[in-house]
Symmetry: C2
Subunit: 204 residues, 2 copies
């Protein structure tokens, strides 16, 4: 969706053209810079400079740093900003169910292979673990939680991560039955209340 076919007209400096080779160059450069600097340390300017393209191309092709990271490093099948926006539509009371449903719908669609690759990268490289935390927990889960007015946002965000990551591990990586084949509605009914308590319920 963000891979729009229209060409931005804001290109000013003459480096590479803004076509698909620019896109590929940005992905390559981003992998290197994110691994070297971490998510927070990497700047759009540094990535664009390494790719030899204008920094505006990052917004043009990826909708910003988040989208570039999601594609270049995490190889996510979705744009995290869209996911966070989607989660914020609706009441806080059933946010847990929405998170569970969004998580399962997204990863079920990819057959879980991308999730497994993500876990493998976290278990094999320390740096990837840090980057993933910065990105998924801080920029998605915490961002959503901060809109709810709840306390203990950081701890709650990591509790939510335990349930989501664990669900992915059992459903997609280890594929334990019957959970691996359980339909999404049943999963949401079972896991949604857990997430809801981690979002806004008593946890101590």
């Amino acid at each position: 969706m963000s891979e729009g076919v229209t060409q931005g007209s804001t290109r000013r400096r003459g480096r590479r053209p803004g076509g698909s080779d620019t896109r590929a160059a940005l992905v390559d450069a981003a992998r290197t810079v994110f691994i070297e600097q971490g998510y927070d340390g990497a700047t759009v300017r540094a990535i664009a400079a390494r790719a030899g393209v204008d920094a505006a191309m990052v917004n043009h092709w990826f909708g910003g740093k988040e989208g570039l990271f999601a594609e270049a490093v995490l190889k996510l099948p979705f744009n995290p900003r869209d996911v966070a926006d989607l989660l914020l539509q609706g009441s806080v009371e059933n946010l847990g169910e929405r998170i569970a449903r969004t998580f399962l719908t997204t990863w079920d669609t990819t057959g879980g292979g991308v999730f497994t690759a993500l876990v493998r990268s976290v278990t094999s490289h320390d740096q990837a673990g840090h980057v993933l935390r910065d990105f998924l927990v801080k920029h998605i889960v915490e961002r959503v939680l901060r809109t709810t007015g709840t306390d203990d946002v950081e701890f709650r965000a990591t509790l939510i991560a335990t349930q989501l990551v664990g669900m992915g591990m059992i459903r997609y990586v280890a594929q334990f039955e019957p959970l691996a084949s359980t339909d999404i509605d049943t999963m949401v009914a079972a896991v949604g209340p857990t997430l809801q308590r981690y979002i806004s319920g008593p946890i101590s």
Copy 2:
């Protein structure tokens, strides 16, 4: 504890002596047979035969097939049978808290390195995933659940696995803060009620 220093007097057939070389031979043979046959398919007799020792040595050194598997394949720092017995002492009403506390106490003690190795083996070998499910879910979680008289034992067991595996992933593998450094009492208060609902609460 099960590595008793006393020597069994039941040895009858003259194969290897019952010393530490027997123990090591059993561990080697067990790795091969468990991977080839899975946990349920592998017999104590087949493992002992491959090691060239008397089958009684398995009980002598490992307290049975479970203990041998835990050490040879999972490299667990505890005997699963002891863990299950421990969990069964006490009321069903706070079984969730006991499971959380036992899990955290056990893995915190090892520094989480063994847990990480376990996850890595599951993510890199399909066979290990099956074996792990057979073993941990069926022989520990389901065994404990069956004593509670709850319904949907298989689904509940895998739900419990999601929360435990996810907690281990975030605390030991990815080491997301603040959860990675949160004290055990606080963790048990947060996660215990989740496990308790998966054990005996409404899940649909």
